[in-house]
């Protein structure tokens, strides 16, 4: 289906799905860093594929990202993105260091970031799986530290050859009293989106 023909009710249902997934992901992150984590209401973004590289602000912003392909009953991907300074703040928390102690992003920090992303993606997808009664798992996450726009282009590759609009379900996470700020994008493939909506009885 074309995502720009989704009805309000279908979009609401996807937002609800995103909320529940994000709630579980935030709880798992809060347990990891041992402090409260706030989440935004997930934003459903329905936008031309050509605008995707700009959804995280300046396309040249340096961000850390973990990309996992979905496996099981749904195709697509899940992407955890944090500006570099937030990714370092996350490493400070996980190492129990003082804020600002992590000055650069090396292999240890990369591994910590991937583990965090994997825990959050798994929690998110477990909640989605229960809601739609399907098996959805995340593959092994892969790391990149580079320009936000270049990383977000992966969403374009997945849908852009067949359609000109894409749907992103984005949630923002903020740690209390820190600069930690991150976003999780849930990007089911167009066919999988149909399957999810069918399971929710909304086709």
């Amino acid at each position: 289906m074309r995502v720009d023909s989704l009805t309000t009710m279908q979009l609401d249902a996807l937002q609800e799905l995103g909320s529940i997934g994000a709630g579980h992901a935030a709880t798992s992150l809060a347990q990891l860093v041992d402090r409260p984590i706030d989440i935004s209401v997930p934003v459903i973004e329905l936008l031309p594929v050509t605008q995707i590289p700009e959804v995280f602000g300046s396309p040249e912003r340096l961000v850390a990202a973990a990309y996992s392909r979905l496996s099981g009953d749904l195709g697509g991907c899940i992407l955890f993105v944090a500006p570099e300074e937030s990714a370092r703040a996350l490493a400070d928390h996980l190492h129990n260091r003082e804020a600002g102690a992590t000055v650069s992003f090396g292999r240890t920090e990369e591994q910590l970031f991937l583990n965090t992303a994997h825990v959050m993606a798994s929690a998110y997808l477990a909640a989605v799986s229960r809601m739609v009664d399907m098996d959805v798992l995340s593959g092994e996450p892969q790391f990149a530290l580079d320009m936000a726009g270049a990383i977000l282009q992966i969403a374009v590759v997945r849908v852009g050859m067949r359609a000109d609009m894409a749907i992103l379900v984005r949630t923002q996470f903020k740690g209390e009293g820190t600069v930690m700020d991150a976003a999780l994008f849930f990007m089911p493939d167009p066919d999988s989106l149909d399957a999810v909506l069918a399971r929710l009885g909304l086709v």
Binding site: T50, Y67, S104, A144, A150, R162
Partner: protein, 175 residues
């Protein structure tokens, strides 16, 4: 690869002056000296720069994909290399450039996440389709900085025909 983010170059963004034109994903732009055409944050996307040295005129496309698999893909068709490259040549000819004077430089076409089979090859396929179109149109490729797994911002300076490639990994390179 062993690396550390402290090795990254400081990336200075170009000043926002009126001569600088942003070419965002799926778009293209045409201009003359002293303009600078900038395609920001290329990952698997490719920045295709065509230049007519005599007229100091050039064009840049920010190509996202090789070609549509579905004829009804819709939207901006210039996101596809198959459409964007001939469009660039036509746009320059309309401004008075001879096709035989045009030269090309390319950058981008990286694989940001190598282990994913779809994502790993799209950059290469973009570059291949761009080159195929340029060959069909008999426009020679003078230089390229493609592949790898890092993001690039490219700037085509129409006064000189220089293509500047900026990245966090390598700093600034001149093509």
């Amino acid at each position: 690869m062993h690396w550390d983010s402290s090795d990254y170059e400081r990336l200075e963004l170009p000043p926002r002056d009126p001569n600088v034109v942003d070419v965002s994903a799926g778009h293209y732009a045409v201009g003359e000296a002293p303009m600078v055409l900038v395609a920001p944050a290329l990952g698997s996307c490719v920045g295709v720069a065509l230049y007519d040295p005599q007229a100091q005129r050039g064009a840049m496309a920010h190509v996202m994909l090789p070609r549509p698999v579905d004829a009804e893909a819709g939207g901006l068709m210039e996101r596809f290399a198959e459409h964007a490259v001939p469009r660039l040549v036509n746009a320059l000819r309309e401004q008075g450039s001879l096709q035989s004077r045009l030269v090309a430089k390319l950058a981008g076409g990286a694989a940001m996440f190598r282990a994913d089979s779809i994502l790993a090859t799209i950059g290469e396929r973009n570059v291949a389709e761009v080159k195929r179109q340029l060959t069909l149109l008999r426009v020679p490729v003078l230089a390229e900085d493609t592949g790898g797994s890092h993001a690039r911002t490219v700037e085509l300076h129409l006064e000189t025909g220089v293509l500047l490639v900026r990245s966090y990994l390598h700093g600034v390179r001149e093509l």
